[in-house]
């Protein structure tokens, strides 16, 4: 089969999707249905966890977090309700708003859509891990300077999306920023300032479009 999908489609092209299913499922495509079911059952039988709590070790912001969690506990739930890391916010718990965005390695993910047990063994960065030794990161500083936050509840998610973008693409343009933040919602309306802040963090200055006219 000629797989013509370009690589630049990102982390979730059809090819990587197939890869992620693992060998069992790929074999399944050509095998008898009954055999597949049996094989899947066998494969999963060895790894059944729960429903009770199981030990989970997360590596968050460079520190180990050892927790006892039911396998159904999401990464977001684990951070916010089983540890004191409440920086990642719960806005929807349904992969819509992006307030819960954290980085797994260099990839921004919705922590409400990742089970905590799946996040083991990967370096997790939350908003609490961005500032180093009390100094705001470039992105945080740019958000402050540009006032790219209001109520601030969506801010941790946007910070993670922008930080991940700049790691991948240190010189983005406004469209790149909008694309990187397409999975984040802000209800106060800070979007224009977030684009400005991301560009500022990348070294591109943009001017405010506001003019004060004094009638006095």
């Amino acid at each position: 089969m000629n797989n013509s999908e370009p690589e630049h489609l990102g982390a979730h092209s059809r090819r990587t999707f197939f890869k992620s299913l693992g060998t069992v499922a790929v074999t399944a495509a050509t095998a008898q249905v009954t055999t597949v079911a049996a094989e899947l059952e066998k494969a999963s039988a060895e790894k059944v966890l729960g429903p009770g709590a199981v030990p989970v070790t997360l590596k968050v912001n460079g520190e180990k977090l050892k927790l006892m969690l039911e396998p159904r506990v999401t990464l977001l739930d684990a951070l916010r309700n089983y540890s004191s890391l409440t920086g990642a916010k719960e806005g929807c718990d349904r992969a819509t708003c992006g307030a819960c965005t954290v980085m797994l390695g260099d990839t921004p993910v919705y922590s409400c859509q990742k089970l905590a047990i799946e996040a083991q063994g990967i370096e997790i960065t939350t908003v609490e891990g961005l500032a180093k030794n009390g100094n705001l990161s470039k992105v945080q500083q740019a958000f402050l300077t540009k006032d790219a936050l209001m109520c601030g509840y969506c801010t941790p998610g946007f910070l993670m999306s922008v930080t991940a973008l700049l790691r991948k693409n240190p010189k983005p343009n406004a469209d790149d920023v909008k694309h990187a933040c397409a999975g984040n919602i802000c209800r106060c309306g800070t979007q224009p300032r977030i684009v400005q802040a991301a560009l500022k963090a990348a070294g591109v200055e943009t001017a405010s479009r506001t003019e004060v006219v004094d009638y006095a």
Binding site: N81, E90, C92, R94, L136, D147, C188, G189, V213
Partner: protein, 621 residues
């Protein structure tokens, strides 16, 4: 009469939001982040029926779920459910997972009513199923008239008739409604996600029969409200009851789904407008019939006012002959609450659309039509300034005159807000320490508008200090009274108050230390002379430093694909008279936010009900 300083260093300049570092590092503790010692997770069971009579709620099996520490019913005895999502019971347990299991274990007996109505056009029919027994769903029309409309229309050179409608819009703040509540014999403490700590305190006091002095409400950080977060809510009262039963603090934040069903929305509007003008464009007659729904009722426990389905018609225009009939349609849907300038956005949309249609009929530039008919002198100047910046003359084309499938159009519209020059009951304290540090305490809350920063800016200006030298504490009912944050009144409430506190502080410093002018470079020397005890200063709001009746105009350029209907916004220009600007950068964000939410309302947002099942089909962002 007090006056603002003339040559300012901070007022009307830009100071970075003082709480930005806390919000940017995740150290800001929002109401939903509170983890009191021994806290429990709380959740609510909601009705899956739009109409039913609940005859019994059995919590025994829910209480038996491992980890569950408390379970309460929303109402004692049999009760009527009037909308999908109405509260039935609540549970608290050691984890969200325990609560999810417990909600499934609650046994509800109910007689489901198949007669219900969730559609405005169905609801206003005479034979529609009554939401409240014995009461017609459509209210008798509220009629307002002036002059003689019937006599005026025949004399008009141009008359247009149009039908303009706006959908129900849900607030959807990023942080849902909710509280962490600790209720012990000593009293009740609530960490509330609210726009009004005082109104939440009063709400808890009233609902639970507790003295004001036994209720403390804390809101250090909250994630947006937009008018829907003024009371403790049913969810707050349930959290309190759960806390008492469990003997532990309970954090009960709504889910995003809950938020879309039960804690407020902006009413819909269906506006039939007829408008007539003389040949020179002067409005002569206006006739309108409007109906909309505020759900099962209006306002609920919003405490922020508004919530009704009526809108101001004909909005900002004065027409000699008018007749306006409005009616609210009660439906089996969640109740409306105040929502960012209640009534204004739908009223502006209807009237300004009719103005554009009238301009087309008259063959007149729609900006000209507005300049002729808008009597407000500030908007007159704003329109002229805006038209110049926007390039109105160069861009304007008569409707329908451009060729091609994708057409570009421009428009303009005016707005007004009465607001107030501040809550005159606002008070505040300052503690000035001998080391020169100063803390201001005001019982207001910062809902994202930058209230902390406004307080720091005013104090820094008055005392000759830097904003970062001012510690600002808000969001606690133990502090002196402050108003709820609604109707754009917080800034004009706190700024004169801080002015007063600082003026008094300087006077008292002079009396106590002999330093004639303790501002700026003299500040630390003067404070040192206080000796060991800090100087405590109490101040209050004062007249003459703030104004009301802000108004503005906006211009928009949009591209419309006339085959697909896709609308692309190319440019928006807002011209707003804001009175005295305390902090420019946060003000700009505030205006951006208003424009962006308005665009969302115009282009994307609508609560969709399913007529057959009575459920909300899009209970998410």
């Amino acid at each position: 009469m007090p006056e603002w300083p003339k040559d300012t260093k901070y007022i009307s300049h830009s100071t970075a939001r003082v709480d930005a570092p806390a919000k940017l590092t995740g150290s800001a503790r929002y109401s939903s982040d509170i983890q009191e010692k021994g806290w429990l997770y709380g959740m609510i069971l909601r009705s899956k029926w739009p109409a039913a009579k609940v005859t019994s709620v059995n919590l025994d099996k829910a209480r038996a779920v491992p980890g569950i520490k408390a379970a309460v019913v929303a109402r004692e005895g049999a009760f009527t459910i009037r909308y999908y999502g109405e509260e039935i019971a609540a549970v608290a347990g050691t984890s969200k997972q325990a609560c999810l299991d417990a909600l499934l274990a609650i046994e509800v007996q109910a007689d489901v009513r198949h007669g219900f109505v969730v559609n405005e056009n169905e609801g206003r029919k005479e034979n529609s199923p009554q939401v409240w027994d014995g009461v017609a769903n459509a209210s008798a029309p509220h009629v307002r008239q002036n002059g003689d409309v019937d006599a005026a229309f025949p004399g008009c050179a141009a008359v247009i008739e149009g039908f303009y409608s706006t959908p129900v819009q849900v607030h959807n703040p990023m942080e849902t409604h909710g509280n962490t509540v600790s209720w012990t014999d000593e009293g009740l403490t609530a960490w509330a996600s609210t726009q009004g700590i005082t109104s939440v305190r009063d709400g808890f006091s009233g609902a639970l029969q507790l003295d004001n002095s036994k209720v403390r409400v804390i809101t250090e950080y909250m994630g947006g409200g937009f008018g829907a977060k003024f009371g403790p809510g049913v969810e707050g009262v349930l959290a309190a009851k759960l806390s008492k039963e469990a003997g532990a603090p309970v954090r009960l934040m709504l889910t995003r789904f809950d938020q879309a069903l039960a804690v407020g929305n902006r009413p819909s509007s269906f506006q039939k407008i007829k408008i007539g003008a003389s040949a020179d464009g002067m409005l002569q007659a206006f006739e309108a019939e409007n109906y909309g729904t505020a759900g099962i009722g209006a306002g609920g426990d919003s405490g922020g006012g508004g919530g009704g389905a009526d809108i101001p018609m004909p909005y900002i225009y004065r027409v000699p002959n008018i007749r306006v009939k409005q009616s609210a349609v009660t439906l089996n849907t969640g109740s409306a609450r105040a929502f960012r300038a209640p009534g204004h956005p739908p009223a502006s949309y209807g009237m300004e659309s009719a103005m554009d249609d009238l301009a087309a009929k008259l063959g007149m530039d729609p900006l000209e039509l507005r300049l002729k008919n808008d009597s407000n002198p500030i908007r007159q100047r704003e329109y002229k300034l805006g038209a110049e910046k926007f390039g109105w003359k160069e861009k304007y084309k008569a409707p329908g005159s451009s060729s091609g499938v994708v057409k570009t159009g421009i428009g303009c519209a005016g707005g007004a807000w009465g607001g107030s020059s501040g809550d005159r009951r606002t008070q505040g304290d300052a503690q000035i320490n001998p080391d020169g540090s100063i803390e201001l305490r005001l019982g207001v809350q910062d809902i994202g508008t930058g209230t902390r920063t406004v307080i720091a800016v005013v104090a820094a200006e008055m005392l000759g200090l830097k904003p970062e030298q001012i510690t600002v504490r808000v969001g606690d009912t133990n502090f002196p009274y402050g108003p709820g944050s609604g109707g754009s009144t917080t800034c004009p409430s706190v700024s004169p108050t801080v002015h007063n506190i600082c003026t008094k502080a300087l006077e008292q410093l002079q009396t106590q230390t002999g330093v004639a002018d303790a501002r700026g470079k003299n500040w630390f020397a003067a404070c040192k002379k206080l000796g060991v005890s800090p100087l405590m200063v109490h101040g209050q709001w004062q007249q003459g430093l703030s104004t009301d009746h802000a108004c503005g105009v906006q211009f928009a350029e949009v591209e419309v694909d006339t085959e697909t209907g896709l609308v692309t916004v190319k440019k928006i220009l807002g011209v707003h008279d804001c009175g005295l600007i305390i902090n420019q950068v946060t003000l700009e964000s505030q205006i951006n936010g208003g424009i962006i939410m308005g665009m969302g309302y115009a282009l994307y947002e609508e609560r969709v009900m399913d007529d057959l099942s009575g459920v909300v089909l899009n209970p998410n962002f």
